[in-house]
């Protein structure tokens, strides 16, 4: 997942992530290996700050 630099670390993405694989730090967003690119977080982001990586 590509995290744009305007991400504000609000945690909306982590909240809807069924795999609980997004760690929201104070100023960083970390996806663990469990992420299967389902894209739910991309749609949930209030700032459109997440983008799927091309396969």
């Amino acid at each position: 997942m590509i995290v744009k630099d305007w991400c504000s670390y609000c945690g909306c993405c982590a909240g809807v992530c069924v795999r609980n694989c997004i760690e929201v730090k104070e100023t960083a967003l970390v996806f663990d290996d469990n992420c299967n690119n389902c894209g739910i977080c991309v749609d949930a982001c209030p700032l459109a700050a997440l983008e799927m990586e091309e396969e």
Binding site: S8, C10, G11, C12, A14, G15, V16, V18, N20, E23, V24, K25, E26, I40, D43, A44, C45, P46, L47, A48
Partner: protein, 395 residues
Amino acid sequence: MIKTDVLVIGAGPAGSTAARFAAKGGAKVILMDKKSEIGAPKRCAEGVSKRTFEILELEADPHWITQEIEGIRLIAPDGTDVWLTNDVVELPEAGYILERKVFDKHLAMEAGRAGAEIRIKTQAKGLKKEEDGSYTVTCECMGEVFDINAKILIGADGPESHVAKWAGLKAITKPKHMEAGVQFEMCNAKMERNDVLEFYFGSVAPGGYFWLFPKGDDIVNAGLAIIPEMAEKSAYEYLVDAVNNCYALKDAQPVELNVGGDPVGGLVKEMYNDNIMLCGDAASQVNPLTGGGITSGITGGKLAGQTAAEAIAAGDCSKEFLKKYAELVDEAMGHDMDKYSKACDYLWSLNDDDLNSIAKAFQDIEFETLGTTELVKALIKVQPSAALKLRKLFL
């Protein structure tokens, strides 16, 4: 290994209140938050009802109250507005607009003064259930990793709700129930009255509304929340358009951008289990209609803290004991949640034309008091067909 009776993860209003009441009840409490400053950045519009301070057992303090609110103004897409202010109608709940950065910190300080140990810049990385039922939480602070063992874990970690997911509680927020919220705090606003909350409905914010919450002088929180799957663009893009089209904001200048998710699906299925409770946004203790979660989160936090202290004193942290917490929460807000949830389904189904005609009809009605019942009765008068299901719900 650090040992404690109660570990509260997240020092928002719900977590700090839980920690304070658990400590007041005699338990050894640790309150932790990942941030370096409690209360910042704020994630909401800062409105609370006055009864919040009765629940908190605290006096309202001018340090964190920016504006007393005397009413609301509802605005339809074509600009037709309905004023409901307490000089003409009796409002069921008066309120304040807070300065959350100061308020949240104050609540954490009250927890600290009641005896809770506070750890900031400390993030939970995972947890393990021990044989004796207690939880061991792996924490990280400034590069150091260590464990905290707690007889009772209180998850107050907001809409992210990692604690609930790690513990396997049925508490996940579905995407259709996670509102995406964005807000500018602005100066130079020219509101008609700076003691009245303004709500703009319709396609300006699908699945939510656009709000102006005055914060004293010419300052305003101008924000909106949408349900992404009902929307065509990002919440931020909706906000920029709404601000550009809002007359009161034509000279307004932003000093903050606030962002956050708001779980509006009603109380989570599992709010507790053996040795664990959830409160605040982590338990979806949020009014589904307004999206407001400060008052309800504080209510949940207080009940969780009190129940935790009682469980520690009784030496029984089982789910049978903690069930009491869920029952108290249900009693305090369960009924309203169901009701407002259904009202949302109705409200979000209306298009701009429906909303315009309802607003026009409402303008001619003189309300004496303002409660849900009065509003629904008026709604049924102007929109008999669509409002039939509401009659069943509310009257």
